[in-house]
Amino acid sequence: MSKIQINTPLSKDTLQSLKAGDQVLLSGIIYTARDAAHARLIAALDNNETLPFDIKDQVIYYVGPTPTKPGQAFGSAGPTTSYRMDAYTPRLIEEGLVGMIGKGKRSQEVKDAMKGKAIYFAAVGGAAALMGKCVVSAEVIAYDDLGAEAIRKLEVKDLPIIVINDLLGNDLYLSGQAAYLESKGDK
């Protein structure tokens, strides 16, 4: 299956061209955040503080990496389960977030908030050694005290991800299984 090369920040054209089920190789700058960092981002917005990075047109990767070994650019870095971020996500999309990388199903609220505005990608859960090698450089930019959960600015090269929810509201988690069952039914 051919893979689509895309670069961050994601332009409107790029977002519109992506369809649920597309295999993508992502390059450029992305930001890491999981539960604790999301809670702080929302608290910052509630207090009218500026976010530690400009979130407009950016992509967040839900990951808590392993510590970086000497001699390696980054540790292992596979996706964590995304539903835990659902409560915070619509607000971040309002602020201009256009892409999220994680694994697993999103809530209806998140899917509604994404329509026409943001794309949800899945990385391969449990393939963290392989994905960690796609990280060219990394730097903690906020919430250092959170350790693995700190916000990191990553430069990635050809990170393999798959489009789950596109701008039109298609959902690979629904369509992939349905298509497979249909193909079995036809035989």
């Binding site: 295999q23 990951v63 808590g64 389960t81 693995a148 393999p160």
Partner: protein, 280 residues
């Protein structure tokens, strides 16, 4: 009387932690490769290829296969004729975990309690279970359990009238609800019978058992096979993208139960099913 030194337990625990993080067990690797050959959905094939490639990178470059290097569980099987010298077993295991997670650059994912949630910074404490047996065996069975799959596990106290049909429906329901969240292909560990806590413990043992095992109890072996077929007919597939490889193996552990009860626990393990057995 067999004597085991505290320091020996520390070192073996440390080695087990490192091995679990980097080295996908052979039984899981072989099962993934065999099921890859049977998979016919294209995206599903690619996902299995990535998972197999990831295991290779992890092993060759000593990189953790998953960034969630887990909470350590240890089943201690100890003969009555074994004497531990130099300290407690649990302290030795925790010391070994702390050493292993530090030296191996593994992620420290354990918090002190679910209310304060302060990271203990060395991945301890481990969860340790003891079983005392006759003789002088001393066996430590380790697992490093990620929480993507742990969070998708469930337990239900059925009335006996629910029967095997109710059990099967429940297992399928748990797998469907877990969907892509638990990082399929998964291993499904089932506890059947006992009491509330016994049932959960059996499910855990089943979830970390080898996927190459054939259940010596014929009834259970058949039930495992039926459930495996049922689950893989759901079409969830690797990572939930559609396909037949949803589950690598169903393992069941069973125990006596009460006339009024039919407890069922389903503990899900992800494809990074890390387990190591150390025999002293």
């Amino acid at each position: 009387m067999k004597k085991v030194k505290y320091q020996e337990i520390v070192m073996q625990t440390k080695i087990a932690c490192l091995k679990m993080a980097y080295d996908l067990p052979e039984d899981v690797q072989a099962k993934l490769e065999a099921m890859r050959l049977e998979e016919d959905a294209i995206l599903a094939q690619e996902m299995l290829d990535i998972i197999i490639e990831n295991a290779k990178i992890a092993r060759l470059e000593s990189r953790p296969m998953c960034q969630d290097t887990g909470m350590v569980i240890c089943f201690v099987k100890m003969g009555q004729d074994v004497q531990i010298e130099g300290g407690s077993i649990e302290a030795a295991i925790n010391e070994g975990v702390a050493l292993g997670y530090d030296e191996g650059f593994l992620r420290k994912s354990v918090v002190n309690n679910p209310i304060d949630r302060i990271n203990t910074k060395n991945n301890t404490p481990a969860v340790v279970h003891f079983e005392v047996v006759e003789g002088d065996d001393f066996i430590l069975e380790f697992a490093a359990k990620g929480f993507g799959s742990e969070n998708m596990s469930q337990l239900k106290m059925f009335p006996p009238a629910a029967g095997l049909a109710g059990v099967k429906e429940f297992v399928k329901k748990v797998v469907i609800e877990a969907g892509p969240n638990a990082c399929p292909p998964i291993i499904v560990g089932i506890g059947l019978g006992g009491t509330f806590e016994k049932c959960a413990l059996m499910a855990k043992k089943a979830a970390i058992r080898s996927v190459a095992d054939v259940n010596p109890n014929e009834t259970l072996a058949q039930l495992e096979a039926e459930l495996l077929t049922d689950i893989n007919e759901l079409g969830i597939g690797p990572q939930g993208f559609g396909g037949k490889t949803t589950c690598l193996k169903v393992n069941i552990e069973m125990y006596a139960t009460h006339i009024a009860g039919l407890p069922v626990a389903v503990n899900i393990n992800c494809h990074a099913a890390r387990h190591v057995k150390v025999v002293f």
